[in-house]
């Protein structure tokens, strides 16, 4: 009896289409592109702010365009998907044990969603 194990290779470039849970995972990971692009926009805004009122007015003017709207809408979708996917796994990343029992996951997730809503409202209240 000879051994001749057969190895099934996994596709290195499109494995994430093979199962819905992998595709969801990839969608979560790809949000980093939106976060990165948006952070670069913030740095760019900061540069114009440092350059003075005219430069900053120019920045706001450039932002007020179809491309600017599209960019922000895309960033909003990416950022919200990041937030929800991040908060939803917090009970796994940071389980909290109180006495013998673990704090139920939905309480930990709920607290994060509550904090998120609170921070968003405060920023909107102070910023708009």
């Amino acid at each position: 009896m000879s051994r001749k194990p057969y190895i099934r290779e996994m596709s290195k470039t499109n494995w994430f289409f093979s199962q819905p849970r992998y595709t969801r995972y990839m969608a979560r990971e790809v949000t980093c592109i939106f976060i990165l692009a948006y952070t670069i926009l913030l740095i760019f805004a900061l540069k114009n702010l440092a350059d003075g009122p005219e430069a900053y007015a120019g920045f706001l003017e450039a932002l007020n365009s179809p491309l600017g709207i599209l960019f922000n809408l895309a960033a909003l979708v990416g950022a919200v998907y990041h937030s929800t996917s991040w908060f939803n796994v917090t009970p796994q990343a940071m389980p909290i044990q109180r006495g013998e029992e673990f704090v139920p996951g939905n309480i930990i997730v709920g607290a994060h969603y509550g904090g998120w809503a609170l921070i968003s409202l405060i920023v909107l209240f102070l910023g708009v």
């Binding site: 290195k12 995972y25 990343a93 013998e100």
Partner: protein, 247 residues
């Protein structure tokens, strides 16, 4: 008891004659309360005695009948026929080499499991006369869920990172390392960190979470691995930024 005719597609591979695996379909009269393992046993007993697969307990305890059922890692003894249509496809566990038919080569997992020292390493050896190592219910509960792992390897079959990077030590082994690290009687964490905090250890995990979704014993390996990452990160910063903190 209702009976249903199921078309059971089984991935066959005979290392002596085949160059690659192929599907063979068996028509199996199944009772509705059967599990996939019953259907396979029917095939083996009545239709084709050459089909090879592993099983032992038929009650989700031994962890040997793991296989892909319609593309999902399952224990064949826990995959109920009534949850599937009339066509069921079974394949050997993904991400493992095929030895023959549904039997996989598991040496890689066994080696990795041994490498994380999944056993108690007491902080200090004491003679039996000094009494037992005591543990409170709270301390037990901290790691209890990880003791339920039956080494069935479904999590490895679900983990794309293990499929992509075979060196990855993987979900179950790291979870078991975490189980002993969390044990109040244990003092072996330093030794295990040498393995699981290495490049091929926990850092190959990107928290896909598939391991926890497929675990038949509701162990949460993804949680264990994230906790190991947090602890290893705290270790690293302590070691490099606050060297005086080192014991």
């Amino acid at each position: 008891m209702s009976e249903r005719q199921i078309q059971l597609e089984v991935l066959r591979y005979n290392p002596e004659t085949d160059s690659e695996p192929r599907f063979q379909t068996y028509s199996v009269p199944c009772l509705n309360e059967w599990v996939v393992l019953d259907a396979l046993n029917y095939v083996k007993d009545n239709l084709d005695p050459t089909v090879s697969y592993r099983w032992s307990c038929h009650m989700a305890v031994c962890g040997s009948c793991g296989m892909m059922v319609n593309g999902e890692p399952k224990l064949a003894c826990k995959a109920f026929i009534h949850e599937y249509g009339d066509q069921i496809r079974v394949e050997p566990l993904a991400n493992f080499p095929i030895e023959r038919d549904l039997v996989t080569v598991v040496d890689d997992f066994i080696g990795k499991l041994a490498s994380v020292k999944p056993y108690l390493i007491p902080k200090e050896d004491k003679p039996v006369s000094a009494g037992e190592y005591k543990q409170s219910p709270v301390e037990l509960k901290t790691f209890k869920q990880y003791t339920l792992c039956i080494n069935c390897m479904l999590c490895y079959a679900a983990c794309p990172q293990y499929g992509l990077v075979p060196e990855f030590i993987g979900p179950a082994a790291i979870s078991l390392a975490h189980r002993y690290n969390q044990d109040s009687r244990d003092g072996g964490r330093e030794q295990r960190q040498e393995v699981i905090a290495s490049h091929d250890g926990v850092w190959e995990c990107s928290f896909v979470g598939a391991c926890s979704e497929v675990c038949p014993k509701h162990v949460d390996p993804a949680s264990a691995l994230q906790q190991v990452k947090v602890a290893s990160t705290i270790d690293w910063y302590k070691e490099h930024l606050m060297p005086w903190m080192k014991k």
